[in-house]
């Protein structure tokens, strides 16, 4: 298998563009309308031709690896294939060319779609009500934990702690802290929640326990009912991190497992493209007793007419302006409708089958802690690499040379030299076999080839420490840095 990423010489867009001289000087006061002391002297952005701008960005894009380029088994991120029809729909004028403050009578189609998406997500998660407002999974968590706080405050209680397992996504403790909670980290036992430790941790101060199931090791928390019992007996709430929902659709649901609150990652489970880092969408679902705390506005339906309800005195308020990442919601709706209930169930079946197949093909070449059966992802330990003086990162970089994006590495923290692999349902057996064959081949390669990897990408291994040291965040920083030695020599300093 041969792979080589495109390599173009693409200077920064600012480079070589000397500021053009104005033929007629531009008057930024617009004839004296703007006061002279408030206008800018110059605007340091280049003037280029459309032809050159398109060339610049197209060549940059070719030095970027997406799901459309190849397998992207980034654990916990669910990098599945994104159906193109969903991208087409959002270019329609009736979708893109809509202002959020329009009169509700002129956005009935959008309101209906969002209303229906809320119902579909309720069915998938076993919840009673959903808000589509949060812009990403982490904002969904933030919203959910605010609902936790509002719930306890409505009961006249001030609870101070949120518990998370040590295998939790970093966003969980960060979100809980942003809502004002102290975070307790629960040590896992055999990769699962230690119910004895949980009992010891829970107190009158416990506001909620945040859990993802299956967890980040890809293990299903079999004792989830017992966990729910412990949490609910203490008067606190059980929060479901929906990052791993792709494993269980149609098989179980957070609601059935007695979770009270759940957030969805539409960009993971429902195939909306990740956009190189975003946008995503992180709707929040709740059981009936918590509906009154959801963000405003709520979408109401009466005789086929949709309206917005802001009159929710117990609502936590708003976490994002307007309706959330609407264009992402439209794509997710389209994906759910195209698959239907059976299709979604089969997505989870295939995601879990692919994951277990790949795990089985690789487990003897690495280490697989904590039992055998996995859900949609699995975590290997790269510890055996150490014998050759290598680390997981060397293996991950070498995978790039074979034309695969690397798995998530060094997470979860509970596994030494972690390699977290999530193949998703999108990949065929042939691709999974090619991936497994490449992994095995890499282990037999000259260790030096791994240590110096990658070789076939647009750049060789980066000096990330230098980036943190130099702190060059912009073209202007770069110019100043470049001029700095000359300035030092001549004694020029900044006023």
């Amino acid at each position: 298998m041969r792979y080589h990423q495109a390599l173009h010489e693409v200077p920064l867009i600012f480079e070589g563009c000397d500021r053009p001289k104005d033929e007629e000087p531009f008057d930024p006061t617009l004839g004296g309308y703007l006061p002279m002391d408030m206008v800018r002297e110059d605007l340091g952005i280049p003037d280029l031709t459309e032809r050159d701008v398109v060339k610049h960005f197209v060549n940059l894009s070719q030095m970027n690896f997406g799901v459309d380029n190849g397998m992207y088994p980034l654990g916990s991120c669910t990098m599945k294939y994104n159906p193109k029809i969903c991208d087409e729909i959002v270019t329609w004028k009736t979708v893109a060319d809509m202002h959020p403050l329009q009169d509700p009578s002129t956005i009935q189609g959008s309101l209906r779609l969002m209303y229906e998406l809320e119902r579909l997500l309720c069915e998938i998660a076993g919840m009673d009500a959903v808000s589509l407002q949060p812009a990403a999974g982490a904002q969904g968590e933030f919203t959910g934990v605010h609902i936790v706080r509002a719930f306890h405050e409505a009961n006249g209680e001030v609870r101070k702690e949120v518990i998370v397992p040590d295998s939790a996504h970093g966003t969980n403790p960060a979100s809980a802290a942003m809502v004002g909670y102290d975070v307790l980290e629960l040590p896992s036992r055999e990769g699962l929640v230690d119910t004895e430790a949980l009992k010891a941790a829970v107190s009158k101060d416990t506001a909620a326990f945040m859990l993802t199931n299956p967890n980040t090791l890809g293990l299903f928390e079999k004792n989830v009912k017992e966990v729910a019992g412990i949490i609910h007996d203490s008067g606190s709430l059980l929060y479901y991190d929906g990052a791993n929902l792709n494993a269980i659709m149609g098989k179980t649901s957070p609601g059935k497992m007695d979770f009270d609150i759940v957030h969805f990652n539409l960009h993971k489970t429902f195939a909306t493209p990740h956009g190189g880092g975003g946008p995503g969408a992180g709707p929040v679902g709740v059981k009936g007793k918590l509906e009154e705390f959801l963000p405003v506005p709520r979408i109401l339906e009466q005789n086929g007419q949709f309206s917005l309800d802001y009159d929710r005195p117990k609502s936590i308020g708003k976490v994002r302006a307007f309706f959330g990442n609407y264009a992402v919601l439209v794509r997710a709706y389209a994906f759910i409708r195209m698959n239907g209930g059976n299709g979604l169930t089969s997505i989870s079946e295939n995601a879990v089958l692919n994951s277990n197949y790949l795990k089985e093909r690789l487990k003897d070449d690495f280490e697989l802690p904590y039992g055998d059966l996995r859900k949609h992802e699995f975590v290997l330990s790269g510890r055996p690499l150490k014998a050759k003086g290598l680390r997981t990162i060397d293996f991950a970089k070498r995978l790039l040379d074979h034309g695969f994006h690397a798995p998530t590495i060094y997470f979860p923290l509970v596994v030494d030299e972690a390699i977290m692999i999530e193949p998703t349902e999108s990949e065929t057996k042939e691709t999974l076999d090619r991936f497994a064959d490449s992994c095995k081949a890499i282990l037999k390669e000259d260790p030096e080839l791994l240590r110096t990897a990658p070789h076939n990408t647009a750049r060789r291994r980066l000096n990330e420490a230098k980036a943190a040291r130099d702190m060059i965040f912009s073209w202007r920083d770069y110019l100043e840095k470049k001029e700095a030695p000359a300035r030092q020599e001549t004694g020029v300093t900044r006023a």
Binding site: F57, D68, L101, G276, G282, R320, F323, M471, R476
Partner: protein
Amino acid sequence: MALSSCSLEMLNYLRLKSVEELFKDIPPKVRISGLNIPEGLSEIELRRELDAVMSKNVPASSMPCFLGGGIYNHHIPAAVRTITSRSEFITAYTPYQPEISQGMLQALFEYQSFMTELTGMDVVNSSMYDGSNALAEAILMSHRISAGKRFLISRAVSPEKKDVARVYARGADIELAEVMYHPETGLVDLNDLSAKVAGDVSGFYFETPNFFGPIETQIGEIRRILKDKVMVVGVNPMALALLKPPGELGADIVVGDAQVFGCPMNLGGPTIGLFCCKEEHVRKMPGRLIGMTTDAEGQQSFCMTLQTREQNIRRSKATSNICTNEALLAVSVAAYLALVGRNGLREIAATNVENMRSLSRRISTVKGFVSPKFRGPHFNEFVVSSELSSKEIHEGLLGRGIHGGLELDPQFPELENCALYATTEMHSESDHDRLLAALEEMA
């Protein structure tokens, strides 16, 4: 359901008889039997059905629409879509492996560079969710810079943003207090600000142009009143094509929404939160930062940096919980600015001001209307007051196929019979004519 032959091969390899065995670790008492969602649709069926649903919408292009209030209808050059349709950008995720993700990283670095030029700030992160989220995070960051438990916020800020700010402030136990605007200019009431800047205040947020449209002319005075408190300035980045960058006027943090640069309105989302600060505060900053470095061969390269601020490393001690952001929109913004360039951007900004002045002047000639309500320079938005109720005008215009400005009195009782009108380069003379004719009819 039927399994493909490949699935059967994989099951055989796993020595399993059915897929069901892969789910035997889920206890029966939490199992469900499928989902009650209708059978899947083909592309043809989906397109047909969605088209029918969406036909109930009236897009802004089908009627003259004078709404702004945080989201603006600007022209998007066709090439922006060509660039942001590249699936190598769209279908990638956060560039955790920089060697294979240089395209996205360089584009994000260029976004950061464009924004430092416009704002005059030292550091710009590679995006927050939207303008409201950027403001909320700025309040939290102010609190990290300057420990006060109270934060001041101008009253002339969109209610949407204030609602979001309130939720984030509540989590951090920060109390928000409003600073009044001057009833004639709409600008920050400096007396009220002076009276409210006390020892326990961490900082102050105001906008230029503000929610009502006026451009803030007293930034120097505000800086002096605030002394060492954190000054957070909200901007419409398009107006910065003309205005002096807030970085030159002493801003500590600058926030806004960069949707105005090449991003569709999309019913309000996704948009892109602009977040900038002084370099001395960079370690207190939320969000991802792209930095320049070199690779093993000494080639100029880009990667995410200063990640020890972030949730994936610092967990509950992180500066923010943000992970997924709005990276693809940052590419749109960079592409837009590269395409329109320096001259194009200044021209577009100037057209916005000219259209606003022309429309406002014309509305002021209609009997019973005052426009703009606040004196002083504006960018592309302004408040109109009239003798008729704003609701009556709104409904009258809607009945005539025009979407008027945003009614202000429900949220700002002091602005009785007032509405907020926006106009951009997208409006033609005839759009203005239609609005004027309709207002004349109603007057």
